[in-house]
Symmetry: C2
Subunit: 344 residues, 2 copies
DNA sequence: TTGTAGGCGTTATCAC
DNA sequence: GTGATAACGCCTACAA
């Protein structure tokens, strides 16, 4: 805590040169401007002394704080478990450029926005949830902002995941395995406002079904998982043979219930869901899932925000980078159905 | 983004005084040193111009970055849902002192600790999980650190929750309601390493049982929830009438299963658990739970770390502030048993 | 009570 | 290729 940190002055003194020479030697931007031999000597000396540039002094001159504000609002998205991977990749990538993340519950911005704006060079908005006033101020001030994994009415850069596509390839996977009675299970609908991903996935599902000529088999299920399990156990003509489940939480509950009833997965019912996160691959059987490239998304978010900060003029505001999710195939859906065989 | 921000110089010019006078007027530490009338004029002018002190310039002189590192390691504690409340309160309290939180996955510290140390005035360690090397370096450098809600071998200040006490008052609540067959349900034990709270809560439970002369009724259940529900449904002499459940996740699963089987809660079995978080009070029936004062803990963490930073000498290292949880009584345990009535 | 001047650690400008 | 010197915005002895 109290060790005297060597400054550029100390290094200069040790090498018998001036501070400006040391500064030039240290900053690679001045390719020339200092003799190669001298530069090496200075670098060695700096290394030896454990010199580290004082970022505050640097920030003051460059007007760069090297800090990005990570905004999130409301409760932590507990169920949306890709949060951790995304932010982890984001912070790792930022660190490579010596940038760090400031923790910003959006309330902080509501209360004293100036103090926040003063401290950051830009924002990453998590999950795309944010109060309107905050968004508006960011846009007005023309602050760099990247929206990570969410939809929000803004002209900032957006990093998105193609939910529709994910549902489509998942449905197609079932179709390839010769399933025809494929349903989309979204669980009981308690409120009018569904998470936007519910609709997106439905679109992909319906598109795949239509393309396969299965429009008439489109079925959206809103049962409780207990009841649905009962229905599946009893079987019958209208009971689906494959289930695309909206949330992994719902999937886990249903699988547990089916297991209790002795329903075999995937033989009696093939199952797959979204978000490839723990404990999905530890269930019996492990669950097939649409995985979003969370790390990649975090990384790209970092690149985008840094790009905007570095060259504000050449930034393409309002653009969105969309990622294609992939299918993690596991036991729960691994059962090619033979359509010629009648199922009870 | 590009508006010229007024500096102390501008204010000085407008008032026709020197910068140092403005500085004195602005900093309340110089109670005297400037005429009251002049100070007011300067303050008014500063207000009018929308002056805000440049925190970087200030930080450079004062050697305070006004930034606290929030360290967390490994995966996000999905199940430990008090995270959000704690951090929210922490950041709100820090903001009042113009301090902000830097997001620090502990990996960042492993990779380039100097860069991190340079940027913060102290640390808050979340959930008490952290790599040894990191902890060691923090201690060596004598950096202020507060451990929030976790046990960790360190000499820093700790903010803890008295888990043992929580289990005790919960058990006593059952006892007051004339239960005698009170069990502690911890769920299937998959690995050798149990979360430390499992043991802590067990201690509190056993103590309360002993004090009530119920030592012989102590029962730790490690069934799956499906099987336990079956046992409860069938009833019998050895089946408990009250259940303290270690995790709210387990509780939710069990309650769902019991409901499916038509077991009445709390009449047939009284239930209570830990962590008073969503959706515990939305279940049917709402669940009694031991609530930890998450917000209070976050707030105190802020106070402690700020105190350490402000007056490093007077800090009581190694101290721990322990909070008493409280019982949130709800329907799931609200059923005074009459011991004279034989239960099936 | 007020102002002057030096310094915090760095980078940028312009002489040499 | 190198080195004074002036910023950056603020704080704080110390002098007036």
């Amino acid at each position: 805590m109290n060790k005297p940190v060597p400054t550029i002055k100390d290094i200069a003194a040790r090498c018998g040169v001036s501070v400006s020479t040391v500064s030039k030697a240290l900053n690679p931007q001045f390719r020339s401007g200092v003799r190669d031999k001298l530069r090496k000597r200075i670098l060695r000396e700096a290394e030896k002394a454990g010199y580290r540039p004082n970022w505050m002094a640097r920030a003051m001159i460059k007007r760069r704080k090297h800090i990005i504000g990570l905004i999130y609002s409301g409760d932590f998205p507990l169920q949306e478990g890709n949060f951790h991977e995304m932010v982890s990749a984001l912070s790792a990538e930022l660190q490579r450029a010596q940038y760090y993340l400031l923790f910003l519950p959006s309330r902080l911005l509501l209360e004293d926005s100036s103090a926040v704006f003063e401290r950051v060079d830009g924002f990453v908005l998590l999950n795309g949830k944010c109060e309107k006033e905050v968004l508006q101020e960011i846009e007005e001030r023309e602050f760099p902002m990247v929206v990570l994994n969410g939809t929000v009415p803004t002209t900032s850069i957006k990093i998105e995941n193609d939910d529709e596509y994910g549902a489509k390839i998942l449905t197609e996977h079932f179709i390839e395995n010769r399933h025809r009675k494929i349903a989309y299970y979204i669980g009981p609908v308690y409120s009018e406002k569904l998470h936007y991903s519910v609709k997106r996935r439905q679109l992909g599902y319906e598109e795949a079904m239509k393309q396969a000529g299965l429009s008439r088999n489109i079925q959206i299920i809103t049962d409780t998982y207990n009841h649905l399990a009962e229905v599946i156990e009893q079987g019958g003509k209208s009971v689906p043979t494959a289930l695309m489940i909206h949330s992994h939480v719902l999937a886990i509950n249903l699988v547990g219930e089916l297991a209790r009833r002795g329903v075999r997965i995937p033989q009696q019912i093939a199952i797959a869901t979204f978000n490839d996160i723990y404990p999905i691959d530890h269930l019996v059987p492990p669950l097939t899932a649409v995985a979003i490239p969370a790390e990649e998304m975090g990384k790209v978010a970092a690149e985008q925000i840094l790009g905007w900060i570095d060259t504000p003029d050449s930034v393409n505001k309002g653009q969105s980078v969309t990622f294609q999710p992939t299918l993690k195939l596991r036991k729960s859906s691994d059962y090619p159905l033979n359509p010629s065989v009648k199922r009870k």
